[in-house]
């Protein structure tokens, strides 16, 4: 390493981490952090990290939903349904992710209209080739009440569920927890939202010249990467779920059915809890793969960590060693964090066997 740094000094290549505090001068088309090109490169790095986390989190959520659905469909009794699910899984597993990313990006772009002919939703939100422009509130303080109302709803629901379970254990009587809970205070968050929205003025997107200005723009790069990552990882999650469900012994399912449980309850109360310990470890690695695959955003100009930091900043400053070291460390930290979380979740839900 000493040899390397001496070589670098002789070669006139700047080294050290001072470049992080230099003005970046690089524009980013999509950021949640209020970054401006006059901010430092460290701020730009943070933009990359936030964008990576954003697309990863959204994709993980949707991929899990799609994956579980497709996995269970694959085990359906309806032959056509299970074959279609199988075709979807095999299609997605045998083609590199880059194809999907490019397909969604150029496919999505081709399908959307030009800005002048945007699809408009109630004249406040506009969908076109440049992205989805949605209005933003100018004053967010009113929305704190929405948050409080949602928290209240969650707490009430949880307390109600506990009470209902206790009651069922004692008396065996069923209780429609979800219906009651939502009936009581489900309206609260929505009412708070409407009230807060009415109280503040809104920054509505307005057509100016070439594009809509104002509000928040969800760029097509994000949508394309999100769609590609979700659908791709969902195929793998489906296989993991299928493996997990198949590992539950048939006897369990037969016994549950013999007890008169409906198929929905069989799946929810008998199969899934027993399948989860088998599902979680491979599910974790799929999540990790998804986070790492977010680096494909570099292929379509989505400003995540690799394309922003290892792309633009590397070209602007030329300090390859420091930049690669920082990027690798960040991914390692993310991977380890997710692994640790899933390990904890796994341990806390492990079936106690004799």
């Amino acid at each position: 390493m000493r040899n390397a740094s001496q070589n670098l000094v002789k070669a006139g290549i700047a080294s050290g981490f001072n470049f992080l505090w230099r003005d970046s001068g690089i524009e980013v088309p999509f950021t949640l952090t209020g970054y401006k090109p006059s901010d430092s490169i460290l701020a730009l790095l943070w933009v990359g990290v936030v964008n990576t986390l954003l697309v990863s989190a959204c994709s993980i959520a949707v991929a899990t939903v799609i994956g579980f659905t497709v996995g269970l469909l694959r085990l359906s009794r309806n032959w056509l349904l299970s074959t279609l699910a199988g075709v979807y899984i095999e299609f997605v597993r045998n083609i590199p992710l880059l194809f999907f990313v490019l397909f969604w990006y150029f496919g999505v772009l081709a399908a959307l209209p030009a800005p002048r002919e945007s699809l408009s939703f109630l004249d406040v939100a506009f969908l076109n080739r440049r992205g989805l422009s949605i209005p933003l509130p100018n004053d967010v303080t009113g929305f704190r009440w929405v948050l409080l109302a949602t928290v209240a709803l969650v707490v009430v629901q949880w307390a109600l569920a506990r009470w209902a379970r206790g009651r069922q254990a004692r008396t065996g009587r069923d209780f429609p927890t979800w219906a009651v809970g939502f009936g009581l205070c489900g309206a609260l968050p929505m009412a708070a939202f409407v009230a807060a929205g009415a109280l503040t003025s809104w920054d509505v997107p307005v057509m100016r010249g070439f594009n809509y200005r104002g509000g928040f723009v969800l760029v097509p790069e994000f949508v394309a990467l999100f769609a590609a990552l979700s659908t791709y990882t969902a195929g793998f999650i489906a296989e993991v779920v299928r493996g997990g469900v198949l590992s539950v012994r048939q006897g369990q399912i037969d016994a549950a059915r013999a007890l008169g449980l409906t198929p929905g309850r069989v799946i929810r109360l008998v199969v899934i809890p027993q399948a989860m310990p088998v599902i979680i470890p491979p599910l974790t690695s799929q999540y990790l793969n998804l986070i790492k695959n977010s680096s494909f955003g570099a292929a379509i100009a989505y400003p995540e960590l690799v394309s922003v930091f290892m792309g633009s900043v590397l070209v602007a400053t030329g300090q390859a060693i420091e930049i690669i070291a920082i990027t690798l460390s960040i991914y390692l930290v993310l991977s380890i964090a997710v692994s640790l979380f899933m390990n904890w979740y796994n341990a806390s839900h492990r079936l106690v066997t004799r």
Partner: protein, 350 residues
């Protein structure tokens, strides 16, 4: 006979009202998607011609693929030397056929010999030198390059992965620590950064006398990452093996390496084979990432072909063709894996 067949159909597709509704909806979806697809792919497509003007606008223009087929397969490899690549392909297929012959005598020796000799012969045939005209790695491309990357990275990754898996279960703390760090590091970073690291950072750090070929650097980067994943797959196999096997062998007085070679690994690898096949398929797909270091694998050649001004707008054809090749290769590999798995299970009597 027909009654039984009809009954199966009814049970599988129309058992309940919900089922029937679902079946009809699915049929509709399939119909809506496949008819235009087949129309574009086959019916309206142009198969013969010499240039873009020969293509009908509504269908696929396979003329483009046929015109550049050589490039898709071989990249910029000199046309008169392509027989060497074909020869290597033939040798690999023959080796595969030989190994799948059930009654092969002395299987282990033959496998070892092939695994050692064939890669060296492969490098000689494709790279040249010693009697054959040398062909630089920058001219390799297309499907040939993808296969080369996958096979050679795999050849390094599998033994390395096995060693790492054994190291991770070792009782010596230093080896165990080193293995864990290696595995977790290479598994935790995106492959795109690894390839970048190997290709660009390595020459910066190494003194200029060690000029490692660009392709070799990419292969090493890929191999390290895949070795980490293979190690985890092998570890799964090792964990599934009952402890009693190793203990019995120890009681018989066999040393560590003999135990691994003769007893533990053969069984563990059989169990781990499906996972290892999956990792190899993943490796095959990840070879597309060498695009970032200007190596033109199949996808890279497809993109480069699209940049040719004489064939503007052939995006769909190029990507469908390249995608189809990937799909069939990976699907074939996974089916082969499943077949072997079944054969090994029946052989094991389970």
């Amino acid at each position: 006979m027909t009654a039984g067949w009809l009954e199966t159909l009814r049970q599988r597709l129309f058992a309940t009202w919900l089922d029937t509704a679902v079946t009809l909806v699915c049929f509709y979806i399939v119909w809506r998607i496949s008819v235009p697809l087949v129309q574009w792919l086959l019916i309206d497509a142009t198969w013969n011609g010499t240039s873009r003007e020969d293509c009908k606008a509504s269908g696929a223009c396979w003329v483009f693929i046929r015109a550049r087929f050589g490039q898709f397969m071989y990249g910029q490899y000199p046309v008169d030397q392509r027989w060497r690549v074909d020869l290597l392909g033939l040798l690999i297929v023959l080796a595969g056929v030989l190994l799948s012959w059930r009654r092969l005598p002395d299987r282990r020796a033959v496998t070892t010999a092939l695994v050692v000799v064939l890669p060296l012969v492969g490098i000689w045939l494709i790279r040249g030198g010693w009697g054959l005209k040398p062909v630089e790695t920058r001219e390799w491309g297309g499907l040939m390059l993808t296969l080369f990357l996958a096979i050679y990275a795999g050849l390094i990754a599998v033994p390395l992965g096995i060693l790492l898996a054994l190291g991770r279960r070792s009782r010596l703390p230093l080896i165990r620590f080193a293995s864990v760090v290696f595995i977790e590091f290479w598994r935790g970073v995106p492959i795109i950064t690894v390839i970048f690291l190997a290709s660009i950072l390595l020459p910066l750090i190494m003194p200029t006398e060690f000029d490692v070929d660009r392709l070799a650097r990419a292969i090493i980067g890929l191999a390290f990452v895949i070795a980490a994943y293979m190690a985890e797959a092998v570890r799964g196999g090792l964990q599934a093996l009952p402890e009693g096997q190793a203990e019995a062998a120890q009681a018989l007085g066999l040393g560590y390496w003999r135990i691994q070679q003769k007893i533990v690994l053969p069984q563990a690898l059989r169990i781990a084979l499906p996972a290892m096949t999956n990792e190899f398929i993943a490796l095959f797909k990840n070879t597309t990432l060498v695009l970032i270091v200007s190596l033109f694998d199949l996808l890279g050649i497809a993109q480069a072909a699209l940049a040719d001004p004489a064939w503007v707008g052939m995006n769909m054809e190029a990507y469908v063709f390249a995608g189809a090749i990937y799909w069939f290769s990976c699907f074939g590999l996974s089916q082969w894996g499943r077949l072997r798995e079944k054969r090994l299970q029946t052989a094991h009597g389970r």
